[in-house]
């Protein structure tokens, strides 16, 4: 018998399978087809409904560790996935490259001496072997990797890169007893805290003006906020600005921020386009990027772009808006005095 199955780990948040997991199922089905194997999905914790929602088209079996806790515990995920591997002997394990995925997937691979490739942007198979494409140096280099001599490979896939499976299917659900809390005593869950409510909502905004590391002066942040307001746009930002304490978390667009779900115009000022940021906005129809670095990755996802300095552009935007009567120019200094 050939080892040809693909096992996908379906992660969940607030009782729902994450979109990234659905994407893992999508590419999982494709590879399983190439290998001529089955597509198995393992769900750690959660109610029956959760396992049922994994019964999507193209999935052969849903393995549900229903005794496992809802809250994420790296030990338990690692244990359940490892047991599933021992039980079903897949050729390939696919997990989302999520914050939880980067936690347990490498552990699974290390525990089994399996092949491992993280944050994979493409997966291929010739029917026997699996090859993955990774991306390095801020997207500048494509790295093709293989797992010679490994009967098993574990990969995590880059979010928002592969097509998801949404349609329902008729897979069987197999309940397993693994992963009860007693096995995971080293990590205690103290709870989840959602992002505090804010007057800015990136997820519902139709147009977003986003600023990033290219902005050199904190005072410009306040000015950008006024510009965004005048334009009727939400002010978004990339992670470094939140890290620097220049803007609250609610403004952050990206994987650990908010996804710009309803956005149709995204203007990125001084944002180079790290994958985590792209995750939150690369789907937007019209992306216009401004950056001083012509090699910035953001330009690969933009509809239009220009090479300019943000520190100069912000005053220019103010002037433009002032000439349109949308903004009142304050003499000399605009914005806060927090410098």
């Amino acid at each position: 018998m050939r080892i040809s199955d693909v096992l996908v780990v379906a992660e969940h948040m607030e009782g729902e399978i994450t979109s990234q997991s659905a994407e893992a199922m999508g590419i999982g089905r494709k590879i399983a087809d190439k290998l001529g194997g089955r597509l198995l999905v393992v769900v750690v914790g959660g109610k029956v409904e959760l396992a049922q929602s994994c019964r999507r088209k193209g999935i052969d079996l849903v393995i549900h560790a229903e005794k496992a806790p809802m809250a994420f515990d790296s030990d338990i995920y690692c244990d359940v996935v490892t047991r599933a591997i021992h039980a079903y002997r897949p050729r390939l394990v696919i997990a989302p490259h999520s914050v939880d995925g980067v936690s347990y997937a490498p552990c699974v691979a290390a525990g089994l001496g399996a092949g491992l490739a993280m944050d994979v942007v493409d997966l291929h198979s010739d029917g026997r072997d699996v090859m993955a494409i990774r991306s390095g140096f801020g997207g500048r280099v494509a790295i093709e990797v293989g797992f010679p001599g490994r009967p098993l490979a574990v990969v995590t896939i880059r979010p928002a890169t592969f097509e998801a499976i949404a349609e329902a299917g008729d897979a069987a659900i197999e309940k397993v007893e693994w992963g009860s809390i007693a096995d995971g005593g080293r990590i205690e869950n103290l709870g989840y805290v959602a992002l505090p409510k804010s007057d800015v909502d990136i997820s519902t905004a139709r147009s977003i003006l986003a600023i990033g590391r290219g902005i050199s002066d904190q005072a410009l942040v306040g000015r950008a906020a006024r510009i965004a307001q005048a334009l009727g746009a939400a002010l978004g930002c990339s992670r470094p600005l939140v890290d620097a304490g220049w803007l609250p978390k609610a403004h952050q667009v990206g994987q650990t921020g908010t996804v710009a779900k309803s956005c149709s115009l995204y203007v990125a000022l001084g944002i180079s386009g790290a994958v985590q940021h792209l995750y939150g906005m690369k789907h937007v129809k019209t992306i216009f990027a401004v950056n001083t670095d012509r090699n910035a990755q953001i330009f690969e996802f933009a509809w239009g772009g220009t090479c300019a300095n943000i520190d100069e552009l912000i005053p220019a935007l103010e002037r433009q808006l002032a000439s349109n009567g949308l903004l009142r120019l304050e003499p000399g200094s605009v914005g806060d005095h927090s410098g």
Binding site: M1, M13, S74, D75, T82, R83, H86, A87, R89, H97, S98, V99, D100, V102, S103, A109, G111, G113, G115, L116, M118, R128, S135, F137, V141, A142, E144, V145, G146, F147, G149, W178, R186, E188, L190, G191, Y192, V193, A219, L231, G232, K249, T256, G257, L265, T286, F288, R294, F299, E300, G304, G305, T306, A308, A316, L317, R319, Q320, L326, L329
Partner: protein, 1071 residues
């Protein structure tokens, strides 16, 4: 009867004796005060004072001419001149009487204080008094009427509206000083008048003021006896006023009569343009520690300078930081420092009175020291203060980033060093590489002119001008690093020294050249004055070269421009190096009418970029200096161009022209751009066709070979991949059983333990295999027969071989402290736009890589240090897996405060594979037995995000990944906040020992100054050889690296205003 007067009228010998007694004691008080002051100064001397012999002539000229007091405030200058000469006259007069009466009289029994001499003497004294009085009245009136912001002690730049308590004391002191002098002069006249009233003299006309007053007294018709009583008592009153004034001199404003001159004598002839070395130049520093952070570190010279300040406010008025309401006024800085110094407590830190922001606000423009009448050197003092802040890592973010960039890439932007000469690619000819060929002029381009897009345009223009004028010139490309002028002025002295060393070595290894020309006045200043090759190699600013080319006719003006322009003198060219004429001569030569701004030449007003401020442009409470300057230019009326000859000026004023709303008034241009217009550069042919043809051919062939190569590659690959897979799968079958045989229970990992590990029962060991076996057993129980069956069926293909620690060579380390944190760090590569894949197609050409410490790991180091500092008795050990070159990042970690550093390496190892790296680090962890292991959540180059997780598995430790907060009291558990998708926070509590991976932004990594990095060189880095053994396990094998053909949008280059218009219309359409 000869004309003279009686000195002690009506005094008997006892009274005279009393006077001498009183006078002596007051003078003794003065001497005592002077001595106490001097003693404090002398403490600051300590480590030897070897200031160069004062240049008396210039000092005397300075004092007598009142040049600086006159500057920019002539009325005050004249008033002070009157006071000065009036006081001097009266002082000399008193001295003459002393000599005549107390020395010559008793010794020779004769007196020269009579006759004609006496009459002239009397007249002089009367005039002196009038001068003194007139000066005081003018200055007092000015002070009383207000309106002079420089005399206002309210710190408006801090938003203060009322004068603070301390400054009210200063104000009182000012008035006492003026009042006291006034009363002394007035009582002198009254005394004279009383004398003349009682003993009318025919020669009273020689004492005009006294005579006038005596007539007034005459009107009172007093009794002679009454008048005698008044005369004697008033005499005592006047005498005591004078004597007590003298006694008080060391204690108040009056001391500037002495300290001012002393301070001028000690002045460094080139205080800012040539900064003193760190802890070096004698007389500048009290201690060998970096900079100035405590009162005890003030040197003799500094103490005297502080005591010389008269609060005249000229520096306050000139300072661009103060003008834009940043929290700095040089006057208040000096006065606050003086108050600190007068505490005389050596351990009082400067920080108790002076905020860091104040120290970082200085733009090193030198305007304050240039105008200071008593020769105080504010900027070098500020640089000293900054040096200590750099040492303490209290640095504004922007400046810290610039330091780090300069240290790693040689430029403040952090662009790859290799790209330094890329701006010249826009030219149709090739600039000579001065590393390879001999040139007359070595063009030292500088950071902004090399990397900043607006300035690159200017650099190209300058290159074309030089080419058109047939100048033989070349550049150093990546052998050039930033010259370090601003790095030095921002206080990172050791980095500056390093830059100087590197640049001097680049210059000496370049092919021979005659002179250095630079487009950047900052570079010009430091190369000319601080590189120590003064006299050997000429260093020129390009404005001087342009003058020569234009005036000698090598550049011919075809079209005199006839434009009205104004010129901004760069601080580093003009004020610091006295070059005011070259740019003006250029403007004259190209037919421009120069309209000067009110503040020009030595009074030029800084653009705000100097002293590192360009890297950290926090705004003040008011307009930026550049905006203030643009308004100044607007006020002079219709001009066409605002001319700069400094890349930083161009950057600042291009921006300010827009923000200050002068876009319709004039354009900001570089001097060279106007010259290009005037010589009609666009019509001059200059390409060397050879080079051009070559370049075109090269480009063509490269693109052909690339596209053909890609097609061939694709074809070959599709064939090769399938062949390879066949081969590999055969191998897999061979390897699998062997791997299996080496597994069970056998602990091949890290058999070595540190010789000084007191831990009897190591907590960490490789337990992954046992764990997995347990899992298998459990599996058999849990799942049905079907699985067991499946398992047996696949035994031939399946193998379980958990990843185990590598073996490392033993090493020694100090006894264990209460806690230990192990931080995993990685040296990451960065690529620029010249990225090339190596010929093996599996790696990147190493010479196009720049290296740095991984940002996430820097966060990890900071977190470990913060925890160690909070908990105490905690050792922080940094460990990396990498070749010898990775020592660099360990040194950085050591400089930050990490206790020890370990580097693990084997040539067979890959530093890019998380499995391989984690195996090695696990081995070190087993040796070290840490309580907490911190790793970055990802690396910035390959971004696998797996090392920390694999490590936890190998060591069988709990794991929390992507933490944004750690809370650990040193006990048996640690609370971790993880950040999930959508900003959701997940709180967990883990049992110690544990592994945590950290996200950036959880802290601000501290700066490790180059001095600390150098000092860290003495801390040893433990290097341990890794034995990868038979199972050189990696997570994957890199088959091919390639630069993907990237779909990218067309990137336009257009003026910002057009960009702004496009953006606004996009938003309006999307509404």
């Amino acid at each position: 009867m000869t004309e003279t007067r009686v000195l002690f009228w009506s005094f008997d010998s006892l009274e005279i004796l009393i006077f001498y007694g009183v006078a002596s004691s007051f003078i003794a008080l003065f001497l005592l005060g002077a001595m106490l002051r001097a003693r404090q100064w002398w403490k600051g001397a300590g480590r030897g004072i070897s200031f160069s012999a004062p240049r008396f002539v210039p000092i005397i000229a300075e004092v007598l001419s009142h040049r600086r007091i006159m500057q920019r405030d002539r009325p005050a200058g004249f008033a002070h001149l009157a006071i000065f000469f009036g006081f001097l006259t009266l002082f000399i007069g008193t001295t003459i009487i002393f000599i005549d009466y107390d020395i010559l009289g008793p010794v020779l029994g004769r007196s020269f204080w009579q006759g004609k001499f006496y009459l002239v003497f009397s007249l002089c004294m009367d005039i002196g008094g009038v001068l003194l009085l007139a000066g005081i009245v003018y200055l007092a009136a000015r002070r009383a009427l207000g309106g002079k912001p420089k005399l206002n002690y309210a710190r408006e730049y801090l938003g203060e509206t009322r004068v603070r308590e301390r400054a009210r004391v200063w104000r009182t002191e000012d008035w006492i000083f003026l009042g006291w002098l006034t009363v002394i002069v007035l009582t002198g006249y009254v005394q004279e008048a009383l004398r003349l009233s009682m003993d009318p003299a025919p020669d009273a006309v020689w004492s005009p003021v006294g005579q006038l007053l005596s007539r007034v007294i005459g009107n009172f018709e007093l009794q002679r006896s009454t008048m005698a009583v008044i005369r004697v008592n008033h005499w005592w009153f006047h005498a005591l006023l004078c004597l007590s004034f003298i006694a008080c001199i060391p204690w108040f404003k009056g001391r500037h009569m002495f300290t001012g001159i002393m301070s001028l004598s000690l002045r460094n002839p080139a205080p800012l343009k040539r900064l003193h070395e760190d802890g070096g130049e004698s007389g500048e520093f009290a201690l060998s520690r970096a900079g100035l952070s405590r009162v005890g570190e003030l040197s003799l010279k500094r103490l005297i300078q502080l005591d010389a300040c008269t609060k005249c406010g000229k520096c306050h008025e000139a300072c661009p930081a103060r003008a834009s309401a940043l929290p700095l006024s040089p006057r208040d800085l000096i006065l606050d420092l003086r108050d600190l110094a007068h505490t005389c407590v050596p351990d009082v830190t400067v920080g108790t009175a002076i905020a860091d922001e104040t120290i970082w606000s200085c733009m090193s423009c030198g305007a304050c020291q240039e105008i200071c009448p008593v020769g105080i050197e504010h900027p070098p003092m500020i640089v000293d203060l900054r040096r200590s802040l750099v040492e303490a890592a209290r640095i504004p973010q922007g400046i810290q980033k610039a330091f780090e960039n300069v240290a790693t890439t040689g430029n403040s932007f952090g662009f790859p060093a290799r790209n330094r000469g890329h701006w010249s690619r826009e030219l149709e000819f090739e600039i000579k590489n001065a590393n390879e060929v001999t040139v007359d002029w070595l063009w030292y381009v500088g950071d902004y002119a090399s990397y900043d897009p607006r300035n690159q345009v200017v650099s190209c223009t300058v290159a074309k001008l030089l080419k058109a004028a047939n100048v033989d010139f070349g550049i150093l490309h990546q052998q050039e690093r930033t010259a370090g002028n601003d790095v030095r002025r921002a206080g990172e002295e050791v980095l500056f020294q390093e830059l100087r060393k590197q640049n001097l070595s680049s210059l000496s290894s370049a092919r021979p050249f005659r002179n250095i020309v630079t487009t950047d006045p900052h570079t010009f200043n430091t190369m000319k004055n601080e590189y120590g090759h003064e006299g050997k190699t000429g260093v020129f600013h390009y404005s001087s070269l342009l003058v020569e080319l234009l005036e000698s006719g090598r550049l011919k003006v075809m079209k005199p421009l006839g434009k009205r322009v104004t010129l901004h003198d760069p601080c580093h060219l003009g004020r610091l190096n006295g070059e005011y004429d070259a740019p003006r001569r250029v403007l004259a030569a190209i037919g421009c009418e120069l309209i000067e701004m009110p503040r020009n030449r030595d009074n030029s007003f800084c653009c705000g970029a100097g002293g590192g401020r360009i890297w950290s442009q926090e705004k003040g409470r008011d307009e930026r200096p550049s905006e203030i300057r643009i308004h100044e230019a607007q006020k002079i009326g219709k001009i066409d161009y605002f001319i700069t000859c400094c890349p930083k000026d161009l950057t600042m004023f291009e921006d300010a022209r827009k923000t200050a709303g002068a876009e319709n008034d004039f354009e900001v241009k570089d001097l060279a751009e106007l010259v290009a217009d005037a010589v009609e550069l666009q019509n001059l042919s200059m390409p060397d066709w050879n080079a051009l043809a070559q370049k075109m051919a090269q480009t063509l062939s490269r693109s052909i070979s690339q596209s053909v190569g890609e097609i061939i590659d694709a074809k070959l690959n599709s064939l090769r991949v399938s062949a390879e897979i066949e081969e590999k799968s055969v191998k897999a079958d061979e390897i699998a059983p062997r791997q299996k045989s080496g597994t069970k229970g056998e602990n091949t990992g890290a058999v070595v333990s540190g010789s000084a590990t007191p831990e009897a029962d190591p907590k960490l060991e490789s337990t992954a295999s046992a764990d997995v076996n347990a899992a298998i057993n459990a599996n058999r129980v849990d799942t049905g027969d079907r699985h067991r069956e499946a398992g047996s069926n696949m035994a031939s293909e399946w193998s379980i071989s958990p990843v185990k620690p590598a073996a490392i060579a033993p090493y020694e380390f100090p006894p264990r402290r209460s806690r230990k944190i192990l931080v995993a760090v990685k040296r990451v590569g960065m690529v620029g736009d010249d990225l090339r894949i190596a010929s093996d197609e599996r790696s990147i050409e190493p010479e196009v890589m720049d290296w740095n410490i991984n940002e996430w790991d820097e966060t990890g180091i900071e977190e470990a240090l913060l925890k160690a500092e909070a908990l105490g008795d905690t050792e922080v050990v940094a460990v990396t897996v990498g070749p010898a070159a990775a020592d660099e990042i360990l040194r950085k970690a050591l400089a930050k405060g990490v206790d020890r550093a370990v580097r693990l390496w084997s040539d067979q190892l890959s530093d890019g594979d998380p499995m391989a790296v984690a195996r090695a680090i696990a081995a070190a962890a087993i040796v070290e037995q840490p309580d907490l292991i911190i790793a970055g959540a990802q690396s910035s180059d390959l971004g696998q995000s797996a090392t920390g997780s694999v490590l936890s598995r190998i060591l069988n430790l709990p794991l929390a990944s992507v933490a944004i907060a750690l809370c650990w009291d040193g006990g048996t558990t640690i609370d971790v906040t993880r950040e999930l998708e959508g900003g959701v926070q997940h709180h967990q509590r883990l049992a110690i020992p544990t592994v945590v991976t950290v996200q950036t932004g959880m802290n601000t990594p501290r700066y490790s100054s180059l001095r600390m990095i150098n000092q860290a060189k003495s801390k040893p880095i433990i290097v341990s050889e890794v034995d990868v053994g038979a199972s050189s396990l990696v997570g994957h094998e890199v088959r091919k690296m390639s630069v993907p053909l990237r779909r990218r949008t067309e990137i336009s280059e257009e003026p910002v205003d057009q960009v702004a218009a496009r953006i606004v219309s996009l938003f309006l359409e999307n509404r």
